[in-house]
Structure formats: structure tokens, C-alpha cells
């Protein structure tokens, strides 16, 4: 009996088993266990997805192509500080957050990968992220580290945008051009051509038109050998994987991105409750003034009960085109005009392929002065690139905001407000843009 008791009491102690405090999950990877950084590079691509809709809304709704209909979304059309609080969560914070996540992922690849192509792609994506940040927010924080300090807030100080262009975007794109080729262009990955096109656009945005002309010219001459050509039918310019695309951010309904609100196709298509009948009548006028019926019919529905985009009626699978050949051609013409590199007639003749496709005649001869040509190219961009998130940034780049918007807009509002949480969490080290 005594033995049994002894046995039971001992087993009571044994029943109480010690737990291992080193716990880690089996189904998630730990960051220091990686050897191939391809997955991290994929993440850098992935985060671009969440930037698409904010770029679309800022590019077309802030400008004169589209209109919000319901408060507080109508704050996009009042050029004051109201946007800061009302639209921050839905547009500015997601684009800011995701672009910096893309940058961190890219930094990780650049720091740790041993694969040159991976590094070059990462540099392209990092440059693309910073370019978007600069045109949206102006001066921005620059982080080039995969593991930035969590305690040193001085690294968060916003750097002048010229600095960002010169020390980050241009060197990254230059490196990417040197390493990348165009073999993966049809698979949607970054390519040499995309880096050249983006660098050209960057220089144009900086106002450095001579360099822009050089790189954009390279794109135009290299395009066809890379398999990039204008599609013959304007109705196909936004189709996924069409031959005109130089670089697009791939979207898919099966890949849930970190943008939780209505996607750009919904906004353009007039399906978003906040912007029913979203078409700005000014764009109808623009098509009519240009006598542009083909592109008008393929771009907008001007029935008073519809007033929306038909160009973007491609569903949620539709990719976000970052840069396509038409955009490059128009930018190239813009650079030629600004540089005075060629006659007005020859400059406008550069647009002929695009206009022919639209069923329109050449503009060559219709304008003579540099100003007139500039205006003609800007108008062409509006009709060709409507609903591609370009218009507002075109107006700012070409200095045409007041003229085109028909009102005097304080240049503070050429950029958008930094998310309030950034100013709060950095204790003011990150500052708000003037006017917001």
C-alpha cells in the first residue's frame, strides 16, 4: 500500500511538465534565415499595388478630368487644408505606408542579395517609389537601409526633393539601366527600357529637359527591339500585357493588397458611391474641342445619366500602367519643344502615330510658338492618357495648373498632405506641407 501511495505522489510531480519558452512558429519565416531574396523582391513589387488607387485619384480627381460628388470627398476640389484630416486615411496614408514598405523591401534586397539582377530590379522599384513620393508629397524622408534605427529620429528629417532626385532616384535608375536588359519586359518585371523611360520622366519632372530628351530618345529607339510598340487600336491601350506597356504594376483580385478601399477601376467606372457621375464635363468639352470622337467614345460615357469612364471599365484584374510608349513619345515631344531641339512642325509630327491611331490628323503646322506647342502636347496628353493618373502631375510639371483649372491655386496645394500620423509619431521631426 505504502508503495502505491509513494508511486501516486511521485506521479503527481511528474504530471506537471515543464514548458519550453523558446517558441517560434513553423509556418512563418524568420528574416535572418533567408538565403534567396527573390521573395523579398516580390514584396517590393507587391507594395506598389496599394499606391495605384491613390495615384489615380490624385492624378485625375484632383485635376479637371474627374469629380467627387459626396462630402467629404469633395475636399479634393477645395484647395485648402481640409484634405489633411478627411482624406488622409484613405489615400495619403496608404500610398505613403506602402511605398516605404516597398523601399524597405528593396533596401533589403540591395543590402543582402548577391544576385545583380535582383539588386537592379530593387533599385528600379526604389527609384519608382521615391519618384511617386516626391511628386505626391514634395520633400520626403530618405531611408536607404534595410533596418533603419528605431531610436534616431534624425533619419526621418524630410530631404529636399532635388536631393532625393540627385542622390537616390537618378543613381538607382542609372545602376538599373546598366545591369538590366529587356528580356523580362513582357513578364511584367523591371527592365532596362523601363528604367530609361522612368529616368526620362524624372528628368522632365525636374525640368532637366536635355537629359530627359536623351533618355526618352533612347527608349523610342530601343523600344521595338525590346518588343514594345504602339498597339494599333486605342481600345487596347489599357489591356493587361499589351505591347505598348513598358512597366505596369500587376493587379489581381486573388492577390489582396494593402489598400482596403475602392480600387481605381471602381472610382473611374462611376461605381463608387462617393463619386457617382464622376466625369468632369470639362473633359467632354476637351474631346469635343479637339474633334476627337474615336478616343472620346472609347474613353468616356457622356450620357447625362452615366458620366463616367469607359476606358477603365476593365474590372478589378486590370493592371496599373506606370509608363507606356505613348506617354514616352509625348514626353519626348515635350522635351524637344522645351529644348528647342527641333522645329514646331517636326515636334508635333512626333505625335502623328498616336493621333493617327485616334483617327485624327497631324498637328504639324497647327502651332508655331513654343507655348502653343506646349499647350498642344499637354492637350494631347490629356486625351491620350486620361484616367491613367497623369493629369494633375502633368499640370504641375508644365506649370499649367491655374490656366487649365481656371482658378488661382496656391502652389502649396500642388502637393498633398503628409499623413498626420507621421507628424505625430515622429514628434514633429517629419513636418507637414505648408498650407495643410
Amino acid at each position: 500500500m505504502k508503495k502505491i501511495v509513494y508511486l501516486i505522489v511521485c506521479s503527481m510531480l511528474v504530471l506537471t511538465a515543464c514548458e519550453d519558452l523558446d517558441q517560434a512558429p513553423d509556418n512563418i519565416a524568420s528574416s535572418d534565415s533567408l538565403t534567396n531574396f527573390g521573395g523579398v523582391l516580390n514584396a517590393a513589387y507587391y507594395y506598389q499595388q496599394a499606391a495605384a488607387t491613390p495615384m489615380a485619384v490624385m492624378g485625375d480627381f484632383r485635376a479637371d478630368n474627374m469629380e467627387m460628388r459626396e462630402a467629404p470627398y469633395t475636399d479634393f476640389h477645395t484647395f485648402n487644408s481640409n484634405l489633411t484630416t478627411s482624406m488622409g486615411d484613405q489615400f495619403f496614408a496608404p500610398i505613403y505606408r506602402n511605398l516605404y514598405k516597398s523601399i524597405l523591401s528593396a533596401n533589403n534586397v540591395i543590402e543582402n542579395s548577391t544576385d545583380d539582377t535582383q539588386i537592379a530590379e530593387a533599385k528600379f522599384l526604389r527609384a519608382l517609389s521615391y519618384f511617386k513620393l516626391v511628386i505626391v508629397f514634395g520633400d520626403v524622408t530618405v531611408n536607404l537601409s534595410a533596418a533603419p534605427s528605431t531610436t534616431d529620429t534624425s533619419i526621418l528629417v524630410r530631404q529636399p526633393k532635388e536631393e532625393v532626385y540627385n542622390t537616390v532616384i537618378i543613381p538607382d535608375l542609372t545602376d538599373a539601366i546598366a545591369v538590366l536588359d529587356n528580356s523580362e519586359i513582357s513578364n511584367g518585371r523591371a527592365s532596362q527600357l523601363a528604367a530609361q523611360a522612368l529616368l526620362g520622366k524624372v528628368y522632365a519632372t525636374m525640368g532637366n529637359y536635355p537629359n530627359a530628351e536623351a533618355f526618352l530618345g533612347d527608349v523610342i529607339s530601343n523600344a521595338s527591339s525590346a518588343g514594345v510598340t504602339l498597339v494599333s487600336d486605342f481600345s487596347e491601350v489599357l489591356d493587361d500585357g499589351n505591347s505598348e506597356i513598358i512597366f505596369a504594376t500587376q493587379k489581381s483580385t486573388t492577390i489582396s493588397d494593402e489598400y482596403d478601399f475602392s480600387e481605381f477601376t471602381v472610382w473611374y467606372g462611376g461605381f463608387e458611391d462617393k463619386a457617382l457621375l464622376p466625369l468632369n464635363p470639362d473633359l467632354i468639352t476637351a474631346f469635343d474641342d479637339a474633334g476627337d470622337t474615336t478616343r472620346k467614345d472609347l474613353t468616356i460615357d457622356d450620357d447625362p445619366t452615366q458620366l463616367k469612364s469607359v476606358k477603365r471599365n476593365l474590372g478589378l484584374e486590370s493592371d496599373w500602367i506606370e509608363i507606356r510608349l505613348s506617354d514616352v513619345i509625348l514626353l519626348y515631344a515635350e522635351a524637344i519643344n522645351e529644348n528647342g531641339s527641333d522645329t514646331a512642325a517636326n515636334t508635333l509630327a512626333l505625335l502623328d502615330d498616336i493621333r493617327t491611331r485616334a483617327g485624327l490628323g497631324s498637328l504639324s503646322g497647327s502651332a508655331t510658338t513654343q507655348d502653343e506647342v506646349r499647350k498642344a502636347i499637354l492637350d494631347e496628353r490629356r486625351l491620350e492618357l486620361a484616367f491613367e493618373g497623369q493629369r494633375w502631375f502633368d499640370l504641375v510639371r508644365t506649370g499649367a495648373v491655374d490656366a487649365e483649372m481656371g482658378q488661382t491655386i496656391n502652389s502649396n496645394y500642388y502637393v498633398f498632405p503628409i499623413p498626420i500620423s507621421e507628424i505625430n509619431s515622429s514628434d514633429g521631426v517629419i513636418t507637414q506641407n505648408a498650407g495643410y
Binding site: 510531480l13 506537471t16 514548458e19 517558441q23 533567408l34 524597405l104 489581381s252 486573388t254 452615366q306 509619431s425
Partner: protein, 1056 residues
Amino acid sequence: MNVKFKLTTLVALVFSTFVFAQETYMLNGTVTSESDSMPIPGANIIVVNTTRGATTDFDGKFQIEVKNGEVLQVSYVGYATQSVTINNQQDLNIVLKEGNSLDEVVIVGYGTRKKIHNTGAIAQVKGKEVAAIQANRVDDALAGKLSGVLIQNQSGEPGADPKIQIRAAASVTGDSNPLIVVDGYPISGNLATVNPNDIESVEVLKDAASAAIYGSRGANGVILVTTKKGRTGKTTFSYNTFYSISSKYRDNILPTGREWDNTIERNVNNGSWDLSGLDQDILALRREMYRNAPDQVAVEDWLFQNGYTMNHDFSMSGGSESVNYFASMGYQDTEGIAITQGFERFNARLNLDAKLGDKFKTGLNVNGFASRRDVLAHGQRDLLRAYSIHPIFHTEASIAFVQQLDQQAQAIGLNPFDGGFSGGNADSETPMNASIYTLQPGDYAHDWHYGRNGLFGGSSNQGPAAKLLERDRYETTYFVNLSTYLQYSIIDGLDIRTVLGADLRDTKQYFHALSQADRRGEIARTSLDETNTKRSSILSETTLSYNKVIGKHDISAVVGFEFQNFYTTAIATNGTNLPNDDILNYNLLTQESIVVTERDETIARNSVFGRVQYAYDNRYLFSASLRRDGDSRFGANQRYANFPAVSLGWNMHNEAFWNSETLSTVKLRVSTGSLGTTAFLGAYNSLSLLNPSATAFGTGYLIPDDIENADLTWQTNTETNFGIDLGFLNNRFRLSVDYYTSDIEDMLISQSVSEVLGTAAINKNIGDLRSSGLEFELGALVMQKGDFTWSMNANLSTVETEITDLGDLDALPDEQFGVSGRGPVFRNYVGGEIGEMWGLETTAVVPTGELEDPTLSPNNTSGYSYVVDQNGDGEINEDDYVKIGQNTPDFYWGMSHNLRYKNFDVSMQFQGAQGGEVYNLDPLYFESQWGRSLRSDFDANDDGIADENGLFYDRNRDQTDHGIQDASYIALRNLTIGYTFNSDLISSIGLNSVRAYVAATNLFYIMGSDYTGYNPEGIKNFDGGGDTYKGPTTFGVQEGASPIVRSFTFGLNVNF
């Protein structure tokens, strides 16, 4: 066995019965408590050395067969056992002693302690107090009963958990939920897992010294629940049932179209609104619509209803010398006060204890339930935001009206109503209400059917019924807690005990949204979501305890070790693109439309602990404990920590020199102890783990949510408690006062950081928070005269907090918490309280008449207020913010009365809180904002200054005190009036006792005068609109709070 033997036995039996019949008789008795003369239900009566026994009914009455010379033993937990020798008494009144009773115990962690030896701040509520009032759950029954325990009904939804906060917030980030220990087993759920009818007693360990034995889990306080056990004696049965009808407390907070037109009329007539500049044709048509649209239904009247609760509980208990049992089953079915809400639960419990010989004891507790909770599938705030200008479902009349209205509108040059709405989307099989000309009676009515493009500023959203009824959200839970123990008495007073147990919880959260939940009927916006979560918590624990009284020395000690493992596995399946609305099945979805997310987490914890309790001569009291905890959540360098506690007490009234009848009890207590908390930490917050996710080019490793921190460690809470217990006039009046200070060091903070770092917040240990509070508890036997007794208890508590240190920082980053930029800025800074709400001070609202068109939307206000430029720099910005509110009340209180006259009993429970504020977001939505704009001459140069009076103005939706409302309240939480039927009558139909009662909850509920919502206790504590809820640092914003519920109940308690 032969026939002869059988016959003999039979004769002997008959004979013996005959013998007993001569001597035994039926004794009637009552058991009452000495302190308040209240009857004690459930007291145990046994006839010593026999198997006869009885239990008292709700009236404290019992009946038992006795004969002269036998000894009755009467016992009840917390009271001194009393013996009475039978000597022909016919009626027996037994008064059990408590208070000074030497045997009364309180449950402390891993043991008990005599109440007179208790040195901590421990509040106790007896099961009979829980049972005396009708309550759907234990927390409801406790509300207002305990000092230092704030129980807040954040939601009136059936099955919703209240917030329980014991003393000051123990954590700056994270929740305040105390640890719940049921019968010695720390459960992983909350009090919802316990059936109120099963409760024997509830103890709340408030001070750190008492809770320190639970170490890291005790920082938010500990609630110890003891459930009923069977007692030796005959089996008793109990059946309790009630039926409640409930409705929301407050009505009519929003106008219908007709009421809005009256408002327009009034403002035009008194000259407040000048509408002469408006298009008069449109104005006339709009007002015609407001006034004459047929079949208008107030959204509020549609959404809310009378709910009901039906409850049945059945229990039985009993036992022999060696085995005792208590078993219960319950069923509850509730339909909420808002349509689609409901809660249904089955629960069962078995408590089994057995003695195996002299040395061994063993027991098994099983508690489980199955429940289903249906919640509003769409936010209440958004449902109520729809305008009450139309029916919920179209009628012949309303269809004819909108079609005619459209024609009239087009005749005066407005867009057709269908504009922008018609057609639905290409991928929709059933474009809903594609045109107002295809409407059928019974179709959902939407604002746009009434001409929201141009005619009035309505919502483009679908109507409220489409939002709600096309969605479904529910949660089912299966919970079981099994625990078993084995105890061996090594020598007298020295026991070893092992507990082994598990909590298993299986929940399914379900949600679907059918095509018409989206205004466009887009199937891309349909969804079918299911999250299946399985959690287990396995605990093993062995303690060695020693209890001995040697002369005047009362010694008890316990040492033990404990291991616990929490495992969570979850699969979330999110589907979209539902092919039809009829059959919802993942098999019908395309593979691309289904996303599966998995979760797999383990938390492990190891602990050793020990405690010594000592009392000398019932005068000098001492207790000390130490616990060492290790937890896998912390950084590899910092997993273990020690938590010591010590407390002292002095029963001054037991000193020889004390001789006062007036001041019959004087006890001084002081304690100090430290506790750790893991706060909000998840299983792997100290690690930096990449999240694999599908991307366009294959697997992507996404940015980790956490930044690795090997030094992440315990937050330590050191609390010191001073207490005094006084009793007057033989303890007829009792007063306890406790004062505590609490210092939280190495606060675990989820600190917001710039998103440049790839995450919105990082977890850190920084800073120091100091809180203090004063608690009063008063008990009195107010009156006792003949058949009438009246006793009362009251309590009042204060809490103050101050952040005293934040490491290198003066302030945590400002947090703006609310919805889409609405809501205050929360500031947490050195020298301030936790979670101060800051914003602009407003002086007056800008009159609605300043709007370009004040008639545009029902319930319009200007949406602007005049604000104060605090620093006078001519600009309104965050430098002008002032503190506009704080949610923690200055004090909160409770008061209960128990009255008894003959067969009637009355109990009342009052509860209140004073001095807290909420930021109520709802008015910002209800005071319409669609299409609203100020007159252009209000501020012609757009400089933020009103031209006519030179005052600064700002939008209410920005950070202003416009949303701040008083959250104070005074409530009669419960009023119960019971009647116990005469026992003669009852026993004649074979029952022991029957009590019937009626009860009302929240019979009156007084809200602050500027409070405009449904529930001042309601708090938004979930993330929304991009803002992250961070616990006490962002506490106080309210959105769509489910209403305070008033209910009337009829109930029956039957014992047999």
C-alpha cells in the same frame, strides 16, 4: 438468500419504521445570518450520524425529520457551523454567525484564509447575492457591488462582454481584463463561461499583494469564482426560470422627413433661415417630398424592437460521506433589442469530489457551453444615418410617389433620379433597383430613389435594410473546461495536490454579404468569410501546502510550480464573387475567389511560487509571497522575472485593552507587492517574422509587423495598499476604507513610429505610470423590526493616474483615434493622465442658417463651430489644442438595498459614474454632411475667420470639443421584488420552496444633459478608418454604441 431471511428482513423493516414513527417528527426551521438577519438559502442541515439532511430554500427555511436526542449540524460557507441538539423543538430558528466568525474564510490564490486574518484588499460577493437579483451573466450581477471594480456595459448587444476594470488601468496599452480563476483553475475566457446560478462565491483580489501569487497574470486584478459543491445529505433539486422583455432605454434621437420639414417651417417663420436665394421650385419640391412622401418609417423604429430573454436552469446536488456532486444545466435564448441580434446558449457543469480513504482526495470539474451569438452585421451608426424620408421597403404608394417626383424634378430641370444609379454593373446577375421605374412593392427603398442628385443631399448608399439584411454575422462557440485534482495528505496539515486541466474553445466567426449588400449589386463585393479558431490552454500545477494551528499560532504555507501552454490555431477562409445568393458554399466559388489565412501560435509559461501566512492570536497578521514567472513572449534575454509581495495586519479590537461595544471592529491592513504583465503582447511580438504572401510573381516575404527586440520584458506594477476595517455597534455598521498607490515601471507600450520604418508601431518597455485611488465600502443593517429587515451596502471609488516618466520622451506620439480623421487627438505626456483627449475649444456652433442651403438634408447642421485661438497667433492649428476630455470617471459608486417583509423581498442595485467624458462620433454623421456648404459670404476670403464677427471657425469633424459629451450616469441597475410562497402550501405539492419575482433592469437611467447617444458607457475599442486602438492611451471614443437596455422580468425559483 432464502425466503425466510427475506421475510425476516421485511418484518424488521416494517417494525423499525413503526419504531421510528413513534419518535420522529417533522421539524420546521429557519436559518438566518446574524449580521443582517437575512435568510440564508442553500445552508446545509444534516442529522449527525445519519444519512438525513436538508438544504434551506430561498427563504432560509427547511424541513427535516428528527427525533429527540439527535444533533443537527447547520453549516454554510463563510459562516461558523452550528450544532443543535433536538429536544422536542417544533420550530427552530438558527442564527449563523459571520463577520467576527472565526471560521469565515476568503478564497485567496492557491488556498483560503480566515477573513479575520486577511491582510489584502479582497472583495467578496456571495452566491446568494448573485442569485438574489436576476442577471443574464455574472458580470451583470456584480455591477456596482464592489468598490474599486468598474463594470461598464459598453454594448447592449446580447452576449456582449462588459468591460471590467479593477482599480487603475494596469497597462498603458492593451486591455484591462482581469484574470478569471474558477475553482482554482485560471481559465482563458471571461466570466461569460460561468453560469450565474452555479456560483457559491466570487472574490476579487484587488491589491497587488493579494494578486501577486498569480504573478504576471494578476496585474489587472484577479476574480476568483467558486462554484457550488454537493454536500452530504439527500439530493436537492433546484429549478430557476425567467422571462424578460427588453427594449432600448432612449428613443427618437433622429427626425423623420416630416419632422424635418416642421423644423424648416419654424426656422423660416422665425427668420433664422433666409431661403430667398434658393431656387424656389426645387425648394418647394424638396419640402413637398419631406412632408408628403408616403409611408415614412423612422429608421430607428425599424431597427429596434422589443427583445426577450428566456432562461431555464436546473441543478441538483447531494452526496454521500465519500462522494459529493453538483450538476447543473442551463439554457438561455435571447432576441436582441435590435433586429437580427440574438444569443443562445446551452451550458452544463459537473463538480465531483471524492474522498479515497483517509489520505486521498480527488475531484473533477467539467464546465462547458455551446453558444451562438448573432450580431448586427452592419454598423449601427451607419444604419441609423439613413434618412427617415421613405419606407424601409417600397409600397405601391411610395413607388408611385417617387416616379411622380422624378417627373416633377425633370420638369424643373433636375437630372433624372436614375442618373448615375441605373444599370448596375456588368458582372451583376440582378442589378438591384436598376431604375425607379422598375421598382416592385417590397423592394428596398434607397435615398437615391428620392432624387439625391440635385433634389436633396441624401446618401448614395443603399437603404438600411439592404445594408443589414443582405449581410449576416454570427459567432458560435463551443467551450469546455476540464480540470481534475488529486490530493494526498502526507501528515496532518501537510497536503500535496496536483491539478491538471484544459480549456478548449472552438469558435467559428461567420460573415456573408450578398450581392444586394452592395448598392450596385456587384458580385465582386460579395463575400463569404469564415474564421475557425481553436484554442487550448493546458495547465498543470503541483502545490505543497501546510496548514496548522498551534496554540495561538495559525500558520499556513504553500509552495508550488505551474506550467501552462496556450495554443491557438486558426484558419480564415475569405471568399468573394458569390455566383448566386441562394446557396452559399465555398465549392461554388472559383479557386481564385478564395483566400485562406492560417495562424498557428504557442505561448508557454513556467512558474514557481510560494507563500507564508501567519497569524498570532487573531491579532497580528502577516503574509508574504514570491512568484517567479517565465514567458515565451518576451525577448530571449528577459524572459524571467520575480514578483514578491508582503502584507501585515492588526486586529486592534482583539487586544486586551480594547473594550468598546460601539467600535466593535478595528483592523488595520498594509500591503505591498509587485506584479508583472504581458499586456497586449502576442505570441511572437519580440521576434521579427516575415509574412509569406501571394504576390504577382509568386511568394513574397512581406515586411514584418514587429521589429525584433530581445530585451522586450515584463512590465512591473508595484502597488501599496493601506486599509482599515471598522465595525460599529457589534458590527451592525461596517466601514472599510482602502487607499492605494500603484507604480507601473517599464511600461509595455506600443509606440507609434514613422511608417518609414515599415511598421506603424513598435513594442517597447519605457516609462513610469503612477496611479492612486481611494475606496469606501459601507454596510449597514438599517432596520430590523418584527418581520421587517432592511440592509444596505454602498461603495465609492476614485482613480487618478499620472504619467511620471517616459524615458527619453516628454510625451508619447499624439494619437488621432476615431473614424476617417474624426475624433480627438490623444495625448499621453509626463505629468498628464492616461488617454487625455485634446482638441480645439469651441465657443458656439455656427448657426445652420449660415449654410448655402440649410434645407438640403434632414437634420442638417452647419457642421462648423467657432473655435478659440488659444495662443493668439492668428492661426488655428494643433498649438491651440486644449484638453477637452478624459474617459475615466472622477469617481464611481454603487449602492444596494435589501428589504424583507414577511414573504416579500425587495432588492435594489444602483450604480453610477461621475465626471468621465466620451467623444461621441455619431452626431458628426447624424448631423448630415452631404452636399453641405457655407454661404460664400460667410468667409469670402477663405481665411478661416467668419466675416461678420471676426471669429475663427473650424469643422466639427476636425479635432474639436464638439464631440465631447458627459458620460456620467446614475442607474437603477436592478430592482427585484420577490414573493416566497407559504411553505405549507408548497410542501403539500411536494416542493421545498417556491419563490416568484419580478425584476426590472435599468428602470431608470439618468444620462448627462449634453449626452445625445444611446449609451454613455459605450466605447469604440476596435480599429477603424485607419486608426489603431491602443487601449487606455486612446480610450474614450464612442461610435454606434449599442443602446442601454431596459428589461422587465418575471421569474420563478423552485427547490425540491
